[in-house]
């Protein structure tokens, strides 16, 4: 499979009164055509900022994508292209599904208008063709009585249905990549599964690559082919979903897995949270950012930052102790 998206050494900073926040601090990854990649990490680790940077949606100022960062989409650098071209990519080639379905649709415009406007802009359809396609799309995402629904406003829809509309909107212009930023966080658990299932089916059917940003490891296990774990603006581990689940090589990944309830866990056993708080991104010094919370921290972790290295079969982790961790099979829960 050819590479669709290549993020190379992306740095995104925010200039605030308290100093420079290094929200994304040198991340690199690829997404292949039609592949589903999950980016996981706790709140504030830079997952959303990293995704927003792809479409250059970071408000500037205070945000800044540092010179030298490159984001290649189908060979073209998104960061250096002019505004007209990036507008063409947004919504047309790469679309986004946001976290908040309740507020991602404009309350004063009908659903139909919001769907057709996008298609008329990117696909050059006329109103009639756009209306027909809007009906098809709504039916595709499982909204009945699509014709009537088109004339309704977002407040006529429930949260789950709005997220379905957002998915229809994201798919409307036949994009090659969809970035879903915590698409299910604001929804009921039962609806979450439906929405994820829908996204998986549709992206597979249409051969669209998908980046799911989430802090829900359950989502990762079930829907992603590859997983990127981020901590404090950096990638700490990547691998296939299988690898990340069954043999994590970074203490943070292990901590994340241990803090999630599992069906096969012994009754009465307590969850193990990760102690402490994520570091202040304005004051990151030398050394591994996870060191203060890490059970395996050593002196060398304080002196220098571990680089990402290959830990076998394409799995990559940034920990000096990955070998030791690999030996302790029991750690992998």
């Amino acid at each position: 499979m050819s590479k669709l998206l290549e993020v190379q050494d992306l740095h995104t900073r925010f200039h605030t009164t308290e100093g420079v926040v290094r929200a994304v601090d040198g991340i690199s990854y690829d997404v292949s055509e039609g592949e589903t990649v999950a980016i996981v990490g706790e709140s504030g680790c830079g997952k959303s900022v990293g995704a927003m940077s792809i479409l250059r949606l970071i408000p500037k100022p205070p945000g800044e994508i540092v010179e030298g960062s490159r984001i290649l989409f189908a060979g073209e650098d998104l960061l250096s292209m002019d505004d007209d071209r990036i507008r063409h990519i947004r919504g047309g080639q790469i679309s986004m599904v946001f976290q908040e379905p309740m507020t991602s649709l404009n309350p004063v415009l009908t659903i139909g208008l919001q769907l057709t406007e996008t298609m008329m802009l990117h696909l050059g359809l006329d109103q009639a063709a756009a209306d027909r396609r809007a009906i098809e799309l709504l039916e595709m995402v499982g909204i009945g009585e699509a014709e009537r629904r088109l004339r309704q406003y977002p407040h006529h829809f429930s949260g789950g249905m709005r997220q379905r509309v957002m998915i229809a909107l994201a798919l409307s212009c036949r994009p090659r990549l969809i970035i879903a930023d915590e698409p299910t966080t604001a929804l009921d658990v039962t609806i979450q599964a439906q929405i994820l299932e829908l996204m998986r089916t549709l992206t597979h059917q249409m051969g669209v690559a998908l980046i799911i940003i989430t802090h829900n490891l359950g989502v990762v296990a079930r829907y992603a082919e590859r997983v990127i774990v981020m901590y404090a603006g950096k990638i700490v581990e990547t691998g296939t979903a299988e690898q990340i689940y069954h043999r994590p090589r970074h203490p943070y990944t292990i901590g994340l897995l241990k803090s999630v309830p599992r069906m096969d866990m012994a009754r009465g056993k307590r969850l193990q949270p990760i102690e402490g708080q994520p570091p202040d991104l304005t004051r990151l010094g030398e050394g591994c950012p996870y060191r203060p919370r890490c059970a395996w921290a050593e002196d060398r972790c304080e002196r220098s930052t571990p680089a990402l290295e290959n830990v076998g079969e394409g799995q990559i982790a940034a920990c000096f102790n990955h070998r030791a961790l690999a030996d302790k099979e029991s750690l992998a829960v």
Binding site: M96, T103, L105, L109, R148, R151
Partner: protein
């Protein structure tokens, strides 16, 4: 937009039926009696302006020296002025001038202010800072002084009066709309619109502007009242509409001042018309604000 579609969208019954117009008007009168009164004034004024030619047999401009300064009677309900022109006729035609100038100036000023205010909030940063400081400068001048300054530069005439009244409205509306739009800027659908590849202009006009309609409409009705008053002031000061065009402000000067004691009807009726019109529009605007602002709405 969707209305023009060839897909037969109109055929299916919409379960969310809107109550009939009559019912809605009736409930409006009950909840907002003052607003309804204001609304009636507005409607009557529009009616007078539209059908002035049918409502009175007299010519608003032609002199009729044999009827000079006759007091109100059966033939001339509001009397005549020093040139024998029927006051009622001139008040009716004056409504036309006042409404024309008022509506055009208010909608121009409010619309330009809307675009400027939303743009200012949307772009933020330096642009917002510069725009808002310019707005500050404009807001520092009283309305009348600003309008006078503009007319003094451009000269009198209907077109220039409209410009003179529009200019001070723009910053007023921009300031109010900006504050609403600032809150809007943080709502994800604005980011979503950007992520869909829409241009700045489209986001500002199509996606953000309709969401600040409530403050916009309130400003608009308030502006119409203000514009009518301003137009009267300018005309009275001789810097607005020129004789013989029938305008309320104009009717208050000249003969009205000279014969204030012997023929008070010359000033009473146009003065009443101005007061009533401004009062009506302001009441209407207040009621509109109460209706559009859910926090003030009483059930």
């Amino acid at each position: 937009m969707t209305g023009q579609s060839t897909v037969a969208l109109g055929k299916i019954d919409d379960p969310i039926d809107k109550p009939a117009l009559i019912t809605r008007i009736r409930s409006l009168c009950r909840r907002q009696p003052l607003g309804a009164a204001g609304g009636i004034v507005v409607v009557v004024m529009c009616f007078a302006a539209a059908f002035a030619g049918f409502l009175t047999p007299y010519d608003p401009v032609a002199n009729s020296l044999e009827n000079m300064l006759s007091s109100p009677d059966g033939a001339h309900l509001m009397g005549t002025d020093e040139f024998g022109r029927d006051i009622l006729t001139r008040v009716l035609y004056g409504a036309r001038t006042a409404l024309f100038i008022g509506l055009v100036a208010a909608s121009l000023g409010a619309t330009l202010g809307l675009v400027l205010g939303v743009a200012s909030a949307y772009f933020g940063g330096i642009f917002d800072l510069v725009v808002q400081r310019i707005v500050d400068i404009f807001l520092a001048f009283p309305l009348v002084i600003m309008a006078l300054a503009v007319v003094a530069t451009l000269g009198p005439g209907v077109q220039n009066v409209i410009i003179a009244i529009t200019v001070p409205f723009i910053p007023q509306c921009a300031r109010v709309v900006r504050s609403s739009a600032l809150a809007l800027r943080e709502i994800p659908y604005v980011d979503a619109a950007r992520a869909l590849g829409f241009s700045h202009a489209r986001i500002i006009l199509r996606h953000m502007a309709p969401n600040v309609m409530a403050p916009f409409l309130i400003m608009l009705t308030y502006f119409v009242g203000q514009a009518i008053l301003l137009e009267a002031v300018l005309s009275y000061l001789g810097m607005g509409v020129q004789d013989p065009t029938p305008a309320w402000g104009l009717m208050l000067k000249g003969g009205a001042e000279e014969f204030l004691e012997s023929a008070p009807w010359l000033s009473i009726f146009p003065g009443l018309a101005i007061t009533l019109a401004v009062f009506g529009f302001n009441l209407f605007g207040d009621a509109l604000r109460d209706l559009l602002d859910p926090k003030l709405r009483s059930r």
